[in-house]
């Protein structure tokens, strides 16, 4: 393992926050009071808050040590399928931290915040252009929030036509959050099976689509990394029965500049700015999940929308058919600024090239590994490819063992056990920001692991060995949940 990235190095131990510090320390500068102390009604007063008292150095060391137990895109390749872990440009962070923008208050008059309104307006326009759709709401704070917004729009649109539908079609190759998002709007999810090629069949959709079905939620490219070639026929079937088509755009990084969502027959599409548009995922969030819609559905978008009149920008809430508000203010604005900064940096040519290279990287990995890993759907993929552990089963090695062994080689594992239709799935999405050298190294690591599975399977079952902690007991964590530290500790 000496030639490859590998792990090792200096990892310091660090206790929990409340095992550090001394009563009376402080880690923040609090201004001296310039006003008299005021009386407070004793029965309003709470007890002292049980936080540890730490100095600034205590806090800095604590979180610096914690950070060193973490792996991010800046540390190395993070081929987590469907998550588009591309490089997060540093300049985007600077732009979002621009003092007048970071300090902008969301409740002031439009005339006091023209700059931030202009960013919102221009980003709305840019995302409409990029998707081919007509209007955009930037309010949704994440992909699943965008899905919910899309389902609220479906609901409001049907209601505006005097109907209330109760079902929604969701293919087995759609994203995992879709059924829960639809259920929040009272829709019952009806599963649609993909065929043996991993594709949706319009006839199968036609057999399920009826006048109590609000529409379909599909992911394209789907979660097998394949483009749904018959999407237009599927959309026609759904539209003919009075339904709408929701496109989950989480995989948009594959097809920037290639597809026109409107020509595909999509009525509502959400984008994940924390995937395709390079904003950092923050170890869980924040994301942003704008929804893009056709002209017909524009009146149903959340309020407020940003409009431009002459040279001024204004928030418009006078939209009687709107689904209402889905965020307290304007969504995750700081994330939107980062995406805006990315689009301006990349331009049209850069964005289109990004998709081409993302697809190139994924196909290259697929071709270089399919002799050692089982490829259930052997056809040209988009931005990700899905393998399984079928070939390793005879050595009693499963996907999780290969994934954990990748950690010892210095890579974040791919998405595992998703999509559910592939048993022991391993979903690899390299993204366009990984260069050929690094991809070759990753391929070499996985090929070595496949060999180790035969020759030294115990190495995989015991992996990872070089991390701060080894495999963790998740069963114990769920059986006797310890979700907060003990008080008075």
């Amino acid at each position: 393992m000496s030639d490859i990235l590998g792990t090792g190095g200096l990892i310091l131990n660090e206790p929990l926050l409340w095992h550090k510090g001394k009563k009376g320390r402080i880690g923040m500068s609090i201004p001296a009071s310039d006003v008299p102390s005021a009386a407070i009604d004793a029965h309003l007063l709470g007890e002292a808050v049980d936080f540890p008292d730490l100095s600034e150095v205590d806090v800095v060391r604590h979180y610096t040590r914690l950070s060193q137990w973490n792996f991010g895109v800046d540390s190395g390749m993070y081929p987590l399928g469907s998550c588009t872990m591309k490089y997060n440009p540093k300049t985007n962070e600077r732009q979002a931290a621009t003092p007048a923008i970071a300090n902008a208050h969301p409740m002031l008059a439009d005339s006091l915040c023209q700059g931030t309104l202009r960013i919102l307006f221009e980003l709305q326009q840019q995302l409409a252009t990029i998707t081919g759709l007509d209007a955009v709401s930037l309010q949704p704070a994440a992909g699943a929030h965008g899905e919910l917004t899309g389902m609220l729009i479906f609901h409001a649109w049907h209601r505006s036509r005097g109907s209330q539908r109760h079902k929604i079609l969701i293919p087995d190759t759609a994203h995992g959050t879709n059924p829960a998002s639809a259920a929040l709007c009272g829709f019952k999810a009806v599963p649609v099976k993909s065929d043996d090629q991993g594709m949706l069949d319009p006839d199968v959709v036609a057999a399920l689509m009826d006048e109590d079905t609000a529409g379909i939620m599909l992911t394209n490219p789907n979660t097998l990394g394949l483009f749904e070639e018959r999407i237009r026929e599927i959309a026609a079937v759904v539209h003919a029965k009075g339904g709408l088509v929701y496109g989950d755009g989480a995989n948009m990084n594959a097809v920037l500049g290639v597809i026109d969502a409107k020509r595909c027959g999509i009525d509502v599409l959400h984008l994940n700015l924390h995937k395709t548009f390079s904003t950092p995922h923050g170890g869980g969030g924040p994301g942003a999940g704008p929804v893009c819609v056709t002209r017909e559905l524009e009146p149903f978008l959340p309020v407020p929308q940003v409009v431009k009149e002459g040279d001024t920008y204004r928030l418009d809430s006078d939209r009687p058919q709107s689904v209402g508000r889905i965020h307290a203010f304007h969504g995750n604005f700081g994330v939107l600024v980062r995406a805006y900064s990315y689009i301006l940096s990349m331009g049209e040519a850069g964005l289109k090239k990004a998709s081409q290279l993302a697809v190139l990287n994924a196909n290259y990995i697929k071709e270089q590994l399919k002799d050692v890993l089982h490829l259930p759907y052997d056809r040209p993929c988009m931005h990700e490819c899905v393998f399984s552990d079928l070939k390793q089963q005879e050595c009693k090695i499963s996907t999780v063992d290969m994934a954990k062994r990748l950690i010892d080689y210095g890579y974040h594992p791919p998405t595992i056990y998703f999509p559910l239709i592939v048993h022991g799935a391993m979903m690899i999405e390299p993204t366009e920001t990984e260069c050929k050298d690094d991809i070759d190294q990753f391929i070499a690591a996985l090929r070595t692991i496949a060999q180790e599975a035969v020759e030294q399977p115990e190495l995989l079952r015991q992996a990872p060995q070089r991390t701060k902690v080894r495999r963790l007991d998740e069963v114990q964590a769920a059986r006797c949940p310890c979700l907060i530290g003990p008080s008075g500790d």
Binding site: I26, M28, S33, S37, L44, G46, A48, V49, D53, S67, Q68, N70, G72, V73, S75, Y78, T98, P99, H105, M107, L112, C113, G115, A142, G176, L184, G186, A189, E229, G257, R263, C264, S278, G282, G283, G285, P286, H327, A328, F329, H330, F333, S341, L344, K353, V359, L360, N363, Y364, E367, E432, T433, V469, R470, L472, A477, A478, L483, I484, S487
Partner: protein, 444 residues
């Protein structure tokens, strides 16, 4: 483009390896009639330096900027943010990681969130806190949906009209399509919520009250808990200013079942309203009804302490349409940031800072009162209050704006019955001189 590393030679070699003749050929599976045609109407790509200039130009068009004294809260608060918090939260090991699905590679995020959950639970007086929701508004909507799940058959919830109007709008958007009804409860002359009619309402699963409420007024949560529980309903509280609990009794100790709100005050820049932090916690019996992610402590193969995402059987990727919520991505780095901020303040510091906000607010009230203004509500407040001026305030507001001071928020658009009244907010970022200047203009 500096983010795209492939050389033409590498592209050619990779295409050859997969048997394609050009990059365009990679998209053969996409039918012609699905294709984007024509060029995009996007500006030409900007260099890093041109982008800096562009954003600097946009910043210059902001009438209110970082130098303006803003006496508006209403759900978004300007507090000092220590450089340590900004610097630690932007460490890319935290910032550029995904959700910690592979715990061996994400112990930093996981321990950090576990500590956030713990400190937040101690602050709010609850037994369990999740890893975050999108914002205070969606957290409240999810809290009410959780209340409806716990109460099973009931179809209605009641929310105080003194809850942030935008939060109530989000609650309506979330609840109404599924057929739930939202009843609003009026406020009294004190600015506190009138709960006297609760007993006459039937089919109510949960009642939500904000404290300090939108008018800054501190609700009597203990009395509210007694009334609400007495009527057989769940008690949900929300907040927009968690710093208040550095001084005031926390909602859990007052009897709240579910506590949620916005945590932006804890080290997160206002940033035009987001990203913020949906804080969400509850009493232990309801743990398995919680929406969102949870981090739990466990041990590794060698018995070492470690952390994992846990109780995932509640969540969308396992439970599909029966999940407690559809939330997946949350506000991870914002929760980490809030943890860093709470750690920086400590128990001693949070009391001191909360006290400072309280004292300054009392001073501002007094000076305005001396200048002839009256307080619209007589209930106790933390760092916001509603005021009525003896004459039209507009000219004074404009004069103050010219002095780079935003003097409050006029309430007519949010509460027509309070048109002409202003909601003021005073944090530690507002000095005495600014407050004196405002009072002088009111009296002028």
């Amino acid at each position: 483009m500096r983010y795209l590393p492939h050389t033409p030679e590498e592209i050619a070699a990779m295409l050859a390896a997969i048997g394609k003749s050009s990059l365009d050929n990679l998209f053969d599976p996409v039918p012609a009639d699905c294709r984007m045609t024509g060029a995009w109407d996007l500006p030409a790509a900007k260099s890093e330096w041109e982008l800096n200039d562009h954003l600097r130009h946009l910043a210059a068009t902001m009438r209110v900027d970082e130098h303006t004294k803003v006496l508006v809260g209403a759900g978004s608060y300007r507090h000092h943010i220590p450089e340590t918090v900004r610097s630690l939260a932007s460490r890319s090991e935290f910032l550029t990681a995904y959700t910690p699905y592979q715990p061996e590679m994400a112990q930093g995020t996981l321990q950090g969130i576990f500590e956030y959950q713990t400190l937040t639970a101690r602050l709010l007086g609850v037994d369990v806190v999740n890893a975050s929701m999108y914002d205070g508004a969606s957290a409240l909507a999810e809290a009410l949906l959780m209340g409806l799940r716990i109460a099973k058959k009931k179809k209605r919830v009641a929310v105080a009209k003194a809850i942030h109007p935008h939060y109530r709008a989000v609650v309506r958007a979330y609840l109404q399509p599924a057929g739930y009804e939202v009843v609003e409860l009026d406020f009294l002359a004190s600015g506190r919520t009138d709960l006297s009619g609760l007993a006459n309402l039937d089919d109510i699963a949960a009642v939500a009250v904000q404290s300090p409420n939108f008018f800054g007024v501190i609700e009597d949560l203990e009395a509210a808990a007694a009334t609400i529980h007495g009527a057989g309903m769940l008690f949900v509280t929300c907040f927009t200013e968690p710093l208040a609990y550095g001084l005031l009794k926390n909602p859990g100790s007052c009897g709240a079942d579910i506590v949620c709100g916005e945590g932006q005050s804890f080290g997160i820049a206002p940033s035009f309203g987001g990203p913020g932090l949906g804080m969400f916690g509850c009493k232990e019996p309801f743990t398995r009804n919680l929406p969102g992610r949870l981090v739990g402590e466990t041990k590794d193969l060698e018995g070492r302490r470690g952390y994992v995402l846990t109780l995932a059987t509640r969540e969308q990727h396992i439970r599909r349409e029966k999940a407690t919520s559809n939330i997946c991505s949350n506000q991870g780095i914002c929760a980490m940031t809030a943890g860093m901020y709470m750690a920086s303040l400590g128990g001693t510091g949070i009391r001191q800072l909360a006290r400072l906000n309280y004292d300054k607010t009392q001073y501002c009230k007094e000076t305005l009162r001396n200048a002839g203004a009256t307080m619209v509500f007589d209930g106790p407040v933390f760092n916001e209050f509603v005021v009525e001026f003896p004459t039209d305030f507009k000219p004074a507001y404009e004069r103050l704006l010219a002095k780079n001071i935003v003097a409050g928020l006029e309430l007519g658009a949010l509460y027509p019955e309070l048109a002409g009244r202003h909601l003021f907010c005073v944090t530690e970022t507002i000095d005495k001189q600014t407050m004196d200047t405002i009072a002088a203009e009111v009296g002028a």
